[in-house]
């Protein structure tokens, strides 16, 4: 194989840095993960340490439908982003609305579950350690879902007003990262509270 020297012309090499929004969102997710870790550790530490009832075995029912709704919303928001990036606005609006609706179903479902626990089973945050840890961990997650829903709703309103276009894929993409995080946390919360803790 023969070699020959080729003069490489001095070209302006592109100077590419990580995107601000994504780095910032990943930082926020790191901080939020640390907060959730502490609550999850507290929950696991206090499993079975309640001095009085009711216990998780007696009152908790698996929120299968809720879980399916929330997890599938991760898929719909991903597809919505794909639609927005390819410029298919109608499809984006439909999928974004679907995401918002699925998230709302989850929050309503959590509300119904809490209503049942409080009024039918008599479990409040001050009843016993299970109540304290359960309501704070699930409540912290529900708070994050609510914040996410407010943001999703804002984007939905803007989209319906026709103000979200292809060039906004970047900001909505950052928002979708947050939503994916909220869904991933639910996997952990579900495992800890409903599978391990029961």
């Amino acid at each position: 194989m023969s070699t020959m020297s080729v003069a490489i012309p001095e070209v302006e090499r592109p100077w590419i840095l990580p995107s601000k929004g994504r780095v910032g969102m990943f930082s926020l997710i790191t901080a939020e993960s640390a907060i959730f870790t502490i609550f999850v550790v507290a929950y696991i530490f206090y499993i079975g340490k309640s001095l009085t009832g009711p216990t998780p075995q007696q009152v908790l029912r698996l929120p299968i439908f809720n879980t399916i709704c929330l997890l599938s919303s991760s898929l719909t928001i991903h597809l919505a982003m794909r639609a927005l990036e390819s410029g298919n606005n109608a499809r984006f609006k439909l999928l974004w609305f679907l995401t918002f609706a699925l998230g709302s179903i989850f929050i309503v479902g959590t509300g119904r579950e809490w209503h049942h626990l409080i009024y039918d089973e008599g479990l409040t945050i001050s009843t016993n350690l299970f109540g304290t840890t359960y309501y704070s961990l699930v409540g912290l997650h529900a708070f994050h879902v609510t914040v996410g829903l407010v943001a999703l709703g804002t984007v939905l309103a803007l989209a319906l007003a026709g103000k979200v276009k292809q060039e906004h894929a970047y900001q909505t993409g950052v928002l979708s990262l947050y939503w994916h995080f909220v869904d991933a946390v639910w996997v952990v919360v579900f495992t800890v509270v409903y599978l391990i803790g029961r």
Binding site: L17, S19, T154, E167
Partner: protein
């Protein structure tokens, strides 16, 4: 001055938006013509949001009215903030007066620090003893020490088992708590324990000699035979009460030091007579790391290859 100008700006990541008067990054010479620079516009909404959030928390401790005001302010702050960045970041343009102010130094001369590689190496041992030398020395010393200890036992108590039992009492003192008569008699398990302790300590100290002696290459017997045993005995003198109270009560320090010196002289002699090997410190990093790197690694047949 500055004008507020919510102009659409499509680029969203990376550098803040800039308008250069001239294109190109840094090719200007002399004085640069004024360039217009876009900076994020001042806004009070983050302040309002922070104030609102603080009031929400403060309201928990004071009254609901404070929290209500906080919620109102926080909402206003959040909405106001959103309007600042959505759909496009609010920026203002300023004129940057860029005059040429060349970077210069009053210390143009550079001095290089002279390093002499061989001088820095002078204090490290070029040659060391192999590990086996330390083991051999330790074992030889252990024999010498054992002989001396047994002699001591015969002379002072008329029993060769006396020093052995005392040594074993480091880990196994319980049998002797009641009477002292047993110290003179033979106990197989104590012989085992004492032998293990004796051999282990001897080999460890022998290895230490193997490491230390090349550092003081001129008088190995003085260091190994006298200085080290005396220091070791001094250390033991102050700590033996904790390690082995029984031995501490009965110890004869003259004999103890004598047997230590016996160990030191023999171990030192044996170690010092072993053949030394060269260290690898002169070899390049690539050779030490075992990387095959032609041109860096020494060629075959040269010194250092046989290590």
């Amino acid at each position: 001055m500055s004008t507020s100008e919510p102009k659409p700006e499509s680029e969203q990541s990376g550098q803040p938006a800039i308008d250069l008067g001239t294109s190109g990054t840094s090719a200007a010479t002399g004085s640069v013509p004024p360039v217009s620079v876009k900076l994020p516009a001042p806004t009070a909404w983050p302040f309002v949001l922070a104030f609102g959030l603080s009031l929400i928390f403060a309201g928990l401790l004071t009254s609901a009215a404070v929290s209500t005001l906080g919620v109102f302010l926080a909402t206003a702050g959040a909405v106001g903030w959103a309007c600042q960045v959505l759909p496009f970041e609010r920026q203002e343009t300023t004129q940057a007066k860029a005059e040429a102010a060349p970077v210069f130094t009053s210390r143009p001369e550079i001095a290089r620090i002279q390093t002499l590689p061989e001088m820095q190496r002078a204090w490290l041992p070029i040659e060391i003893y192999p590990v086996s030398a330390g083991v051999k020395g330790g074992l030889a010393g252990s024999v010498a020490m054992a002989v001396l200890a047994v002699v001591y036992g015969l002379i002072s108590q008329g029993s060769i088992w006396y020093p052995i039992n005392l040594l074993a009492s480091i880990v196994y003192a319980q049998p002797f708590q009641l009477s002292t008569r047993h110290l003179d008699s033979f106990h197989p398990e104590l012989l085992l324990v004492a032998t293990a302790i004796h051999l282990m300590t001897s080999v460890l100290v022998g290895l230490l000699y193997g490491v230390l002696l090349p550092m003081v290459p001129r008088r190995p017997i003085l260091l190994g035979g006298l200085v080290a045993p005396v220091m070791w005995s001094g250390l033991l003198h102050s700590t033996l009460g904790i390690i082995n109270p029984l031995l501490n009560q009965r110890i004869d320090w003259m004999w103890f030091v004598a047997s230590q010196i016996g160990f030191g002289v023999v171990a030192g002699l044996v170690v010092a007579h072993q053949e030394r090997v060269r260290t690898r410190q002169h070899m390049p990093l690539a050779a030490l790391a075992g990387i095959e790197a032609p041109g860096i690694v020494l060629e075959k047949g040269s010194k250092g290859e046989d290590l």
